[in-house]
């Protein structure tokens, strides 16, 4: 009998171009940096974000306050850094919860089919038939004006699109031969769903999720800007821009720096997700 040796083709299908590799390592570095700022803002920020210093109110950027100060004399640079937790951190949590919920419900709908599928997808249709920001505003307003209700509202608005996407994926995955093979070794429906089907949706969901962090951030800061999310004196970016409206002509720095922060994070997440999706294709 010929014995087959252990010959690996270990990197099959894993060729990625240099630019894609740069894209991924760039994304990783960027996320690590953001997480560090979210977890340890005090390490980078020179001032307390909430400490009032009314004598130095609305100071232009200087050596002491590189982004200037707001109407209460608080350092905008420190507030932007502390605000990362409220804005970006919350967005990441929203996306994680929404994609998790959407993946599980979508997979259940696609896998079990029939009535389960029908009713779940009609619920999804209801959510998807509203403009998402209008729906988020309505939900956030009815849940009470605070950060927690804004987060909850956005999770509720965001999961249906994941459910729809994952359902489609599952419909194609469940026809593949390895699912039949898993049946023949005696795996149960739930085992096949959670071990063979859902892992195959991670890639698409991952790419979508990394892009969605940017979009969710815009919506969340938007809700805060409209007064439906974070409340004063929280250093949330959207709220800061909202407060800065009264001073926009005299003190440009007040609205510009939180705005740049939003722009930077959103565009970087979207750019990174774009790069991410090119890998392993």
């Amino acid at each position: 009998m010929i014995r087959t040796g252990v010959n690996f083709i270990s990197k099959r299908g894993r060729k990625s171009s240099v630019s894609q590799k740069i894209g991924v390592s760039f994304f990783t570095t960027f996320v690590i940096l953001l997480l560090t700022v979210i977890l340890f803002p005090g390490f980078f920020a020179p001032y307390d974000p909430l400490e009032l210093d009314v004598i130095n109110r609305l100071q232009a950027p200087s050596k002491a306050h590189i982004f200037g100060t707001d109407e209460g004399g608080r350092d905008i640079y420190s507030r932007v850094l502390y605000g990362t937790k409220d804005s970006v951190g919350a967005s990441i949590i929203i996306v994680l919860m929404a994609s998790g919920l959407g993946t599980i419900l979508g997979a259940i709908a696609g896998w079990f089919g029939g009535k389960t599928d029908f009713y779940l997808m009609r619920i999804v249709d209801v959510f998807l038939s509203f403009p998402y920001l209008v729906l988020a505003m309505a939900l956030a307003a009815s849940l009470g004006r605070d950060m927690r209700s804004a987060i909850l509202a956005l999770i509720l608005v965001w999961w249906p699109s994941y459910a729809r996407m994952v359902r489609g994926q599952v419909l194609s995955i469940k026809e593949r031969l390895f699912i039949r093979a898993a049946r023949t070794v005696g795996a149960s429906s739930y085992q096949i769903l959670f071990w063979h089907i859902i892992p195959h949706t991670y890639r698409t969901v991952g790419v979508r999720a990394s892009m969605d962090v940017g979009y969710v951030l815009i919506s969340l800061t938007g809700l805060s800007f409209l007064g439906l999310g974070a409340q004063n004196p929280s250093p949330e970016w959207g709220l800061m821009i909202s407060n800065a409206r009264s001073y926009v002509l005299a003190s440009w720095w007040y609205s510009v720096f939180p705005g740049i922060a939003i722009l930077l994070v959103v565009s970087l997440f979207i750019y990174a997700a774009d790069r991410f999706s090119g890998v392993e294709k």
Partner: protein, 329 residues
């Protein structure tokens, strides 16, 4: 003759996507520890039969039968739970395409052990390693923790067989287990299957279009054409003195090194099932008017069963040289 291990009675399978049946009321038995082969060309319904027996076509086809008796129980009436247990413990299945049969994102061992309880797993794992060694996988203890994409096609198929044997099955359904592999690996796997069969008293349902493979390991052979059984009998008798013109042509179409033969090419379509008469009539070189009007029934002639009006004349008319087909063992 003892009680058959598997007894299929009037099996009829219709895919939802097609108006005609893929399998039209076939019956056969498999004795314990014996090997039955189903041969036929692509689309003759042989894989469908194999899948229908394991009830793996639930979502894509309607399966009807008087009964599919396995160890005396009707598989068609089994509940989901019973079916799971049956697939886990009593019936092993190996598919045609080893690469597509694996979930590439889950380790070989974990994937095969999924179905067993947590408490059972360490013991089963040891057993799986020993089976993997038996089917010729080197360093099985390492391979079990690898991902399937790290293995070659032959190794994937071997591991699949090891997995199929893990529950101590009494019946192994092998749906063209060697067709995706290269020739040396094929021979190797076939020897392996025969050995395992002798060792464990395993019965086997082998689906193949390769007569050389069949002659090597199967005791009995069923020839299918267009969803019907047209000839059935002990493999050696069937190959050496085929009684149905289709079987004769099937055997003749096998290329041989020492005797170059002319292969018959068909240009006309397979006959529609709904038409009367013999399914093979429009391609048959021996067709007579009766073939088009009356359907031949499967009847026992000597050792083999054959469905042909002119079975007694076939050998003479087609001038089959006796023993022209040599098995390549």
């Amino acid at each position: 003759m003892s009680e058959p291990l598997l007894s299929v009675k009037n099996l009829e399978v219709t895919y939802f996507s097609s108006p005609t049946s893929a399998v039209k009321g076939i019956s056969f038995d498999i004795q314990p520890a014996s090997c039955l082969a189903i041969v036929g060309e692509s689309g003759s319904g042989k894989s469908t039969t194999a899948l229908a027996i394991a009830r793996l076509l639930e979502n894509s086809a309607a399966t009807k039968a008087s009964a599919i008796l396995f160890e005396g129980n009707n598989i068609l009436k089994a509940t989901k739970k019973e079916l799971r247990k049956l697939r886990k413990d009593r019936i092993g299945i190996v598919f045609q395409d080893p690469i597509a049969s694996w979930n590439l994102s889950r380790k070989v061992g974990t994937q095969l052990l999924d179905a067993f309880d947590k408490s059972e797993r360490p013991e089963r794992r040891e057993k799986l390693i020993s089976y993997m060694e038996k089917v010729g996988i080197d360093k099985a203890a390492q391979v079990i923790d690898m991902y399937p994409y790290m293995l070659s096609g032959g190794m994937m198929q071997r591991a699949m067989i090891a997995g199929a044997l893990l529950g101590n099955p009494v019946l192994l359904i092998a749906d063209e287990p060697t067709s995706a592999l290269d020739v040396t690996v094929q021979a190797d796997l076939l020897n392996l299957l025969s050995e395992l069969r002798k060792e464990q008293g395993l019965a086997m349902l082998l689906v193949s279009h390769n007569l050389a493979v069949v002659s090597q390991i199967a005791e009995r052979t069923v020839v299918m054409y267009s969803g019907e059984i047209i000839e059935e009998g002990p493999t050696s008798t069937l190959i050496n003195s085929a009684k149905h013109p289709y079987t004769v042509n099937l055997i003749r179409s096998m290329p041989s090194m020492d005797q170059p033969r002319k292969v018959t090419l068909y240009t006309n379509e397979i006959r529609n099932a709904s038409s009367q008469g013999c399914v093979y009539a429009n391609r048959c070189p021996l067709v007579i008017p009766m073939c088009n009007s009356e359907k031949p029934v499967l009847q026992l002639i000597g050792e083999t069963k054959v469905a042909c009006h002119r079975h007694s004349e076939v050998a003479k008319l087609l001038e089959v040289p006796n023993g022209a087909i040599t098995s390549n063992s």
